[in-house]
Symmetry: C2
Subunit: 306 residues, 2 copies
């Protein structure tokens, strides 16, 4: 897992979060570690990211050998404002801080992973992480955002060509490809390199594309929805965590994994920041998955249309 360890501060229609633990690597590793695999983080923090925060990771069995602390710098900080429907947000403050000087170092123990998730980072940094691996993982998942499409398109295309699965939202897929239709956009992305494309649609679920096939997963409908921050990274982390239960990662395994990722993300958004995810018990996820199966099951259709 690579990404940011950071501080976030958000305002949503449900209130103001205050300064809180955030960053893509935080959600990724918290989510993945729920499933029990060995999870290592490659990231960077500043002086202000105290040991009591790092302990939150250690207590979950997350290996922090790949986390550098840059003396004299502060950690990445992002402040955002979500509008009423929470599909729109404004960035109020971005302080890159330590991240600007991040030269990732992958520890020897991490160089033969089964699965790599490259969370949101500069695409050149994502590429330098891949450069340090000793063996090709079974699956490399890349997450990115529109910011890099605007500012580092060449590096982004280069890293996309090296991964197995690209995860992005509908708007990002449209921007990356110039295609309005999500299906056409996904086909276009698969021509750029990845065998799989996952389109995240927030409360509406997600789509998984592979060659000529597609899989649709709805999202668990929520009554309480306080803060979308970290939902995408929780999705990716839960996706990876779930996959760790399988021996190999084929289309069928990936189908289940996106359902699992989406259900896990449905907890994250119920409260601010990592609050809900940190205190989540595996039984709660199991119960929600069971409920998910129940509310997506249509018992009779096959009979009528066979």
């Amino acid at each position: 897992m690579a990404g940011t360890l950071a501080f976030d501060e958000v305002t949503t229609p449900y209130g103001h979060s205050g300064r809180m633990l955030g960053g893509s690597a935080t959600y990724l590793s918290f989510a993945a570690s729920l499933f029990g695999p060995k999870t290592g983080v490659v990231s960077v923090v500043g002086d202000d990211f105290g040991d009591e925060l790092l302990d939150k990771f250690r207590r979950r069995g997350i290996d922090l050998q790949g986390v550098q602390r840059l003396a004299g710098h502060k950690s990445f900080y992002w402040k955002g404002y979500y509008y009423e429907n929470m599909n729109r947000r404004d960035t109020l403050v971005t302080e890159v801080n330590a991240l600007e000087h991040f030269d990732p170092r992958v520890p020897a123990d991490f160089r033969r992973p089964d699965l790599v998730v490259l969370g949101n980072l500069h695409p050149a940094v994502q590429a330098r992480i891949l450069d340090q691996l000793d063996a090709r993982p079974q699956l490399i998942v890349l997450d990115t955002m529109n910011f890099w499409m605007d500012t580092a398109r060449k590096e982004l295309d280069a890293v996309i060509a090296r991964v197995d699965l690209l995860m992005l939202n509908e708007e990002e897929a449209r921007q990356l490809t110039g295609e309005f239709s999500i299906i056409t956009a996904a086909k276009h992305i698969m021509q750029m390199g990845p065998d799989y494309v996952v389109i995240k649609r927030g409360e509406y679920g997600s789509l998984l594309f592979h060659a000529d096939a597609v899989f649709m997963a709805p999202a668990y409908p929520l009554e309480v929805f306080r803060d979308p921050t970290g939902a995408g990274d929780t999705f990716a982390g839960g996706f990876a965590g779930h996959l760790s239960r399988y021996e190999s990662f084929g289309f069928n395994e990936l189908k289940d994994a996106i359902i699992c990722g989406a259900n896990l993300a449905s907890f994250t958004v119920e409260d601010f920041g990592t609050r809900r995810l940190e205190n989540l018990h595996r039984d709660e996820l199991r119960e929600r998955m069971r409920k998910f199966v129940e509310i997506t099951h249509y018992p009779m259709l096959e009979r009528v249309y066979e």
Copy 2:
């Protein structure tokens, strides 16, 4: 089936439709008649709605006894403009015409239906149709829109209290109830009378609520999407048509019916107006339903979370 028989004219990113056959009762009855039940229409047209148009209905076995022609009037006309993502539209022209003088008359043959769909009309007109029935149908479905929430709220509440199922989109559900959460909004609506609420989410599928239960149906992902006009009415008509295959209409039957309605609507939006729906063969729908089952099926999840 009650609703409008009308002319529409739309501009979408894919072009301009010209003046074309439209109206909620058109899509409702074209959709329902694909499934073979006896389908009757209650509506009104003007002098300009020629016999060649009415023949399109008759050829599909649709009973037009309930359609009045108002001499000296023109038919309802709507002209709209859809923005690029087609979730937003502007109404350019609305000419109510004959509809303004519509006093619905339900023919004797229609007064004991199994199922009634009240398509978009003034809620007082919808109520007058219910008044003329001799026996309570097994299921009364009501479709409405935000316009009536603004202009005829009292009559709308009165007719909502008399139906079994209210169908509306997310924005309409929020406006009707003042609740942002769709789940909370659906619960609120069920307290207003209906046993069931269907929330249509366009390309993102739909939700069916009943007491404490919910069912989620994704929508078939489309590469070609030219004109959303009539999608909601096709959904409702396909929903009703599919139900006609069952003896009774319980929660499980309704689940299948919303999947069927959504899949049928996915054809309508592939071309302008009724063009695709008119020429649709039942085998095409059967094939799409089969495909739908395939792309929503997750084979392994139950095992992992049992």
